[in-house]
Symmetry: C2
Subunit: 597 residues, 2 copies
């Protein structure tokens, strides 16, 4: 069975030494997040994840969820107890305002904890994770009455939440959605339609489930401008907060999926279910969009999380498995063969994953911190700048971290050879679980289009220019620094590739949008490489400061420098190929007739 | 359920127009393979694969194999009937010499047919495929008596075959193997030990199973020089050919795997089973190696096969699924939305897979043809040159075609969005099935090491130089050709990268072998890109000749030119990044201490 040890030390190093969390004490909630408190919180989260959630990961995969004839769904053995522990620990409401029962701590900490939870048990972590998402939506768009009615019990985990967007004929293109909402005399709506792929749509972990549902009010305009958001509880909640009767919503079936078997992916049937409008009529899609940054950041974290746990197990196996001898000469003469970690191709694999993980974790925390600033700062300009950053980096984090997270899980599986293909080692589950993160919450092709088609040109390119200025300024500042110049020089080359690609789109995609579409995925990954490279420079800078503490032997700080060098030498050069593909344009991509495929 | 249509036309175009199969009529068996016969054979194979094997693919995945308490193993519903059809069609012995009951046709045709079978049902195709492998081993190394005893019934499919190499503690490093062989007075051996990951080790498709087993004769040297090869039938075969008693070999359990559920992957227990030596004592590994080229070529074909069937289904879905509108303006105004094939990122995906498939098929057939020459030519120099080619290209085909085959199955799955993650569409099965081909028959890291550590320097680099000369000569010849120069020019750049990387190894890996190991996988893929690029030039050359026939409308020949351009513009530029990684050397890869991982 796979092991997992939460990378608490690395998260603390990033928060304290790289991003100087202590400098944000003026933001609401940050004063309570002193270094010792943060360390205690992450330590507790690690214990929960390592001891309670990780041991259930393979159980969840093997058992899956069960739908009974009466429509009830039961989760795998142990999930109820584990959920109780998550609830008792107050983890769902870690960053929810105190007035609704949360602890009001920075969202950055929630993202750090969510990485641990997803590493330990991604299918399980989706239950609290989706509830956090529904809470965020109601916080942003619900009326005071709705917030008072639903939020406190969702924050405690007594009730859980879901998001209902997809229908059989529409996923990406929500303008096609058909679920209907008929207004009633009392101001409520009757919701009718079928939703698919609803994660945690029905289960046995909570006494009520609060569904957030996109539907079209009768008479509303066609397309995306006629969609509204509704709250539809599984069991109607009376005005005094007590539970009323069952609502007209039920789970029609569970999907049989490639992975995340422990999570109930439901077909949900709404049969005149009573719902209440959230936000304004016909503005449902906007309501969804404003909370999408956090949700997509969370999915990016899933990619990182599976890459991390897969790495840990591959590294352990590579140190244990004896096979062959090092090509440079026997390394462990006391054993019948050397452990496979001596082989350069195995090390290349492990270093590739590791060089991603440590920079991706930085990218997540850096961006989550900007998210906190965007929501909590008293300075409008600072809020805007942070919000720009969130908007720009969100598709990059979602797309790049989940694509690489999956690839890394595959590479880690490969370290196990034939044993990696066998269920009992758990590596193939990581691959199957990681796969969904590339698909849901906007397939990665959509992330790429969001970046290229909306984000880089938004507000006259304000967010993109700010990002370029920050990275360019950093490179300039450090390029005379003897210890740093070896790291910032390759970053400068790749930043140049990104700038050139951006310019190419400006010159070639306005008149011919296919040029942007055909280069979008390459641009997304080019951007990701530059962002990860920038993170490596920031990490190196902090590690150099810490090095003297570690005198007298190899340390994790000197390992940071080696890993950063590996990233610069081995991974960053890919930006040249990405640029070449983008500049090839769309002609050969688009030339064939549709029926030639 | 997925569809499959065997690409008969493309295989015929490659055999007839690109590789001029008719020019080899002087080789044994080729005279019988006239164009009309080849067309008839591939047509029959297509019918079998499309109508009988493909419909069982999801059945096999869902049911898997069952081991009963008495050790018997039953295959999924329908597999017995389908196997009977394969046997009745004479498919197993297509290329086996007539004296053992085969048809003696070129092995190139067997590889073409095997692609179709693996696309239709990879788990099923392994049963006849492994039997073909065992036949090849006995043909090459068995005594006349052994050949006469076993081959005829294996060729008809009345008996099937297996390969038993791996043990729990050794896969790649066979020098560690422990299975023992004790010589008996009658010249036979008693075989004792445990083998794992034995595909088709036990099943209900044939009346006997002929196991080829690597074991160590008592007193033999330690390591790889003390390993011998034995034939161990499940049921002992009397000298008159009749079946005797059960032998001491049994299936201890079936592995639970990520994919290829329809194939029985067995733990095989040898408990004093009677075996007979094949070839010389202590030369078992050599015997295995001489037949490894064909086996590895066959696994490369699996990668292509799954990429092809995944492509076909993704293309169909992309033409059916309506979602969004083309960014360049509405394309299908009669429908509520455009089919997703109008979106550049979807086309990029489909073109990437297609540009691989068509060139990979060429690479397989080109190399299989060289295999036929190596085995059948009367000219020693021609045999040697063809054998050099096989040895050099085998790790490239195995490693590159299975790595890209898997990646392409993943990309094809992505076209389906959330539906790709659901079992019923069959796309996630292709991903799970394709994954094993990167692992077995020598994990791809081992293929890379074989290429870099053995093949490129072998015989003073003779094979490598011959490959360079052929491609270089072709580029030179065509670079003045107006119609060809746009294709050979980028190939020349990438060939330059490959030559530079080869030179870099010569200068930097002799004294420091880690430099070769750390760059091996990148070199493998760099080589693969050049080989595929060369195939595209050859395809284009033939397509240009055929173009006039297709006057008056778009044709599959003009589509070849577009797809070749896509390959040159979008895929081949990756060679630059591969070269940069290789030239980065091994320092950052190897620097960390083992316990830092």
């Amino acid at each position: 069975m796979p092991d997992y040890k939460a990378p608490v030390d690395d998260a603390l190093f990033l928060l304290n030494d790289v991003f100087h969390f202590d400098r944000y004490g003026n933001l609401p909630g940050f004063a309570d997040a002193s270094p010792d408190i943060v360390e205690a919180i992450l330590g507790e989260a690690a214990k929960l994840c390592e001891q309670s959630l990780a041991p259930l990961n393979m159980v969840g995969d093997a058992e899956g969820c069960t739908r009974h004839d009466d429509g009830r769904v039961t989760t795998p053995t142990g999930f109820r107890d584990a959920f109780r522990q998550v609830v008792d620990g107050g983890w769902i409401g870690l960053s929810v305002p105190a007035e609704f029962g949360g602890q009001g701590l920075p969202s950055t900490l929630t993202q750090a904890v969510n990485e641990f939870m997803c590493s330990a048990n991604m299918a399980f972590a989706m239950y609290p994770g989706l509830t956090q998402g529904a809470i965020a939506a109601l916080l942003a768009h619900g009326s005071d009455a709705i917030k008072r009615k639903y939020l406190p019990k969702m924050v405690t985990g007594e009730w859980t939440g879901t998001m209902n967007l997809t229908e059989p004929h529409c996923g990406t293109d929500l303008g096609l959605l058909r679920t209907k909402a008929a207004k009633q005399a009392d101001g409520s709506y009757k919701i009718t339609g079928t939703k698919i792929f609803i994660s945690a749509g029905e289960h046995d972990l909570s006494s009520n489930i609060i569904h957030l549902v996109l539907a079209r009010i009768e008479g509303a305009p066609a397309g995306t401008k006629g969609i509204s958001l509704f709250v539809v509880p599984k069991i109607v909640v009376n005005d005094d907060g007590s539970l009323g009767g069952a609502n007209g919503v039920s789970c029609g079936s569970l999907e049989h999926k490639m992975g995340i078997h422990g999570n109930a992916t439901c077909v949900m049937n709404y049969d005149g279910a009573t719902g209440w409008l959230v936000g304004d009529e016909n503005r449902g899609l906007n309501a969804m969009f404003t909370m999408m940054n956090e949700a997509r950041l969370g999915v990016g974290v899933q990619g990182l999380a599976l890459s991390e746990v897969a790495y840990q197990n591959a590294a352990r196996y590579a140190k244990e498995r004896l096979q062959g001898r090092a090509i440079s000469g026997v390394k462990y003469s006391d054993r019948p063969a050397d452990p496979i970690i001596v082989h350069p191709d195995i090390r290349r694999t492990l270093m590739t994953i590791r060089a991603f993980n440590e920079a991706a974790r930085a990218l997540v925390l850096w961006t989550a911190l900007r998210g906190d600033i965007a929501h909590r700062s008293g300075d409008a300009k600072e809020r805007q700048s942070a919000d720009d950053h969130m908007g720009l980096l969100t598709p990059v984090i979602k797309g790049v971290l989940t694509d690489r997270g999956f690839e890394n899980a595959v590479m880690a599986q490969q370290v196990f050879g034939g044993h990696g293909y066998i269920v009992e080692h758990g590596m193939e589950q990581f691959v199957r679980d990681a796969r969904i993160a590339q698909i849901y919450e906007g397939a990665n092709g959509i992330q790429a289009l969001d970046l290229v088609g909306r984000k880089i040109g938004k507000d006259g390119g304000r967010a993109l220019m700010a990002f370029f200025n920050e990275v360019q300024g950093y490179i300039k500042e450090k390029s005379a620094d003897e210890q740093m110049k070896g790291y910032v020089a390759p970053l400068g080359v790749s930043l140049g590739h990104l700038q050139q690609a951006s310019m190419w789109f400006m010159q070639n995609a306005m008149t011919k949008p296919d040029n942007a579409g055909a280069g979008a995925t390459d641009y997304l990954h080019l951007f990701g490489l530059v962002a990860l490279g920038y993170m490596w420079c920031r990490i190196v800078e902090a590690a150099i400061v810490k090095l003297p503490e570690a005198d007298g032997g190899p340390s994790r700080y000197s390992a940071k420098l080696v890993t950063a060098r590996f990233f610069m030498e081995r991974m960053l050069p890919e930006t040249a190929t990405r640029l070449a593909r983008i500049e090839a344009g769309s002609a050969s991509t688009m030339e064939l007739a549709d029926d030639a495929f």
